[in-house]
């Protein structure tokens, strides 16, 4: 029985430069995995390799033992759904936008949506809490609502694996938490496997059950948030002094930053 999703010895980059080298990890079905690391550590390169936007030089990306890069475009879109961080400017009503998630299931000559498509789309718009916005235009929505619509579209693809690239980077804390709570609910209730690139270490700690920390294109450490988010690792990877404590409510690690001035005063 092959693993659900496995990356073996992946080396990839732009041109002749390799941004990531020999990356190997394994995502169990139903897990919520976060990829963290400083800017330029290869998070986006890794993400783009998985989504096949970037052609990887060596290694393999296997879903149920089958290489994602050898899948047909449609088959890939039926298995992997991708949510990116950018704001959508297209002038499209929300329902029509979410319906686009059904394109991978459409026959080449299919002209109309099926009743089933509409039901699936309605269902996911309700689940993501945007059903009341269905006739609004996407570029009139707030950033948070747009991200919910992005997720609804991804869900309409009925994927096995949901890939998110910094889904909260433009959002305030209310919407950060709203979006990630939704993803967590999907992970728990639908059993959807999630792989997420995330900048904010505390959000990563709070929501992910497995973290992969990158440094200079290699995996520095992977494991549970408690194993990864320690004072040592963060200082080695980010070159920054931090203090880690335990969140009193969730029990997950929490990372505090300390300003230079305070450190100076402490030394004196």
């Amino acid at each position: 029985m092959p693993d659900f999703f496995e990356i073996q010895n992946l080396t990839a980059g732009y041109g002749h430069d390799f941004h990531i080298r020999n990356i190997s990890f394994n995502i169990p079905k139903g897990s919520f995995t976060g990829i963290i690391g400083p800017n330029g550590s290869g998070k986006t390169t890794l993400f783009k390799s998985v989504t096949c936007e970037l052609i990887s030089k060596t290694g393999s990306i296997l879903l149920h033992g089958k290489d994602v890069r050898k899948m047909a475009f449609k088959e890939k879109a039926q298995n992997l759904a991708i949510v990116t961080q950018d704001i959508e400017t297209a002038y499209i009503p929300v329902q029509e936008y979410v319906l686009m998630g059904r394109i991978p299931y459409h026959h080449r000559f299919q002209f109309f949506e099926t009743k089933q498509d509409l039901e699936i789309v309605q269902n996911f718009m309700e689940l993501t809490g945007i059903a009341h916005l269905k006739d609004k235009y996407l570029n009139h929505l707030s950033g948070g609502e747009q991200q919910l619509a992005n997720i609804a579209k991804a869900l309409a693809q009925e994927p096995e694996l949901l890939l998110l690239d910094e889904p909260t980077s433009h959002l305030d804390i209310t919407h950060q938490v709203q979006v990630l709570n939704l993803v967590q609910r999907l992970n728990e209730q639908l059993g959807l496997t999630v792989l997420m690139v995330v900048h904010d270490l505390n959000l990563a700690s709070e929501y992910c059950d497995q973290l992969i920390m990158l440094k200079n294109g290699r995996i520095h450490i992977k494991g549970s948030p408690e194993e990864v988010l320690t004072y040592d690792h963060i200082e080695q990877v980010y070159n920054t002094l931090v203090v880690t404590k335990v969140n009193p409510v969730s029990g997950r690690p929490f990372v505090f930053l300390v300003s230079e001035k305070v450190i100076r005063q402490m030394k004196q």
């Binding site: 936007e53 088959e75 499209i92 080449r108």
Partner: protein, 339 residues
């Protein structure tokens, strides 16, 4: 959702009715006014009469030709604006018209058109269009992938090169040749060769049908190339084939009718402002509207200073431009045009 399809159906019927009205207007108008009510009778029974000859041999072919060319230009425009996600792109942006013009000018300057080879001007126009299209295509390839932003820039540059070359040709040409070159550049629906008219109709209808095979790529490309790929679209192949379709359409139009501006730019934008951006309805409505618009403009162009004819580009520019500005100022959200 059912309501949406119903609206689309109504839209198509409405546009067909408008197109029919334009056709009837164009049939009855001209140096010789033929009352509308008499037209069916003349066409059925009046064989041999002057009015029959005018309707059947002159006006009707010209209307059919105008429908095909207007539809083709507008379809090419709507496809290119979709692929490039840029409302300013039109069929001539990629240098096709410049190439065709150089082709035609060269064959006039070197007197090839005088060798009594039939239809040498359309052929040389098509060769010119083909050459520039091929150049733009090859220069925008990188490792087998078509880079669409590079393509627009390359196309615009090739247009400039072509127009400079045209100026050179015009500056060094004999006066009698000048007139035929300029006349060709301004574009006209005055086509007497029925074979070319049939060809235009067949090619534009076949391209319209072919474009409907790319509904899903076109709609997905509204979100950009990367997101279209995420939705399972093979964007590389789709963009190349869509480029091919629009090049065939534009190449055809330019070589048989000269450079008729504005239709491929204004009609797709106007239609998008009114009915939205879903390509399932956009393609067919653009085609019908473009055809009707061009026939209407042509009717005015050939009657307004009768017995002389105005270049059709004068009318398409004035009418198209002003209608568009009016619609634009009355529309609340111009972001419709952004994709």
């Amino acid at each position: 959702m059912q309501k949406k399809y119903l609206t689309w159906g109504m839209m198509i019927i409405l546009m067909l009715v408008i197109a029919l009205i334009v056709v009837l207007y164009s049939l009855s108008t001209g140096e010789l006014r033929i009352p509308l009510l008499k037209i069916p009778g003349i066409l059925m029974h009046g064989e041999g009469g002057v009015e029959y000859t005018i309707l059947h041999n002159i006006r009707l072919p010209r209307i059919v030709f105008g429908m095909a060319i207007g539809g083709a230009l507008s379809l090419a425009g709507v496809i290119l604006q979709g692929v490039y996600r840029n409302p300013l792109v039109e069929p001539y942006t990629l240098g096709i018209s410049g190439g065709a013009a150089v082709g035609v000018a060269l064959s006039i300057v070197f007197g090839i058109h005088l060798t009594h080879l039939i239809n040498i001007l359309p052929v040389s126009g098509f060769v010119g269009a083909l050459t520039t299209t091929f150049l733009v295509y090859v220069l925008s390839l990188k490792q087998g992938k078509l880079l669409i932003h590079k393509m627009i820039l390359t196309g615009v540059m090739i247009s400039f090169i072509a127009s400079s070359f045209m100026m050179f040709l015009l500056a060094t040409t004999k006066a009698e040749d000048l007139h035929s070159i300029i006349f060709w550049i301004m574009g006209s629906l005055d086509e007497t060769n029925s074979g070319l008219i049939y060809l235009s109709v067949v090619v534009s209808v076949v391209c319209l049908i072919a474009s409907y095979l790319f509904i899903q790529p076109l709609n997905a490309l509204r979100l950009g190339e990367e997101k279209a790929r995420h939705l399972g679209i093979n964007t590389d192949v789709a963009i190349k084939l869509l480029f091919l379709i629009s090049s065939v359409l534009t190449g055809l139009c330019v070589s048989v009718a000269g450079i008729i501006g504005f239709v491929g730019l204004i009609i797709p934008q106007l239609v998008r402002l009114i009915i939205g951006n879903d390509f399932r309805i956009l393609l067919i409505i653009s085609f019908i509207t473009g055809g009707a618009f061009l026939v209407f403009c042509d009717t005015i162009a050939r009657t307004i200073i009768s017995p002389n004819e105005l270049p059709i580009g004068v009318i398409t520019g004035i009418i198209g431009g002003s209608v568009f500005v009016v619609v634009l100022t009355r529309t609340k959200s111009i972001s419709k045009l952004a994709g």
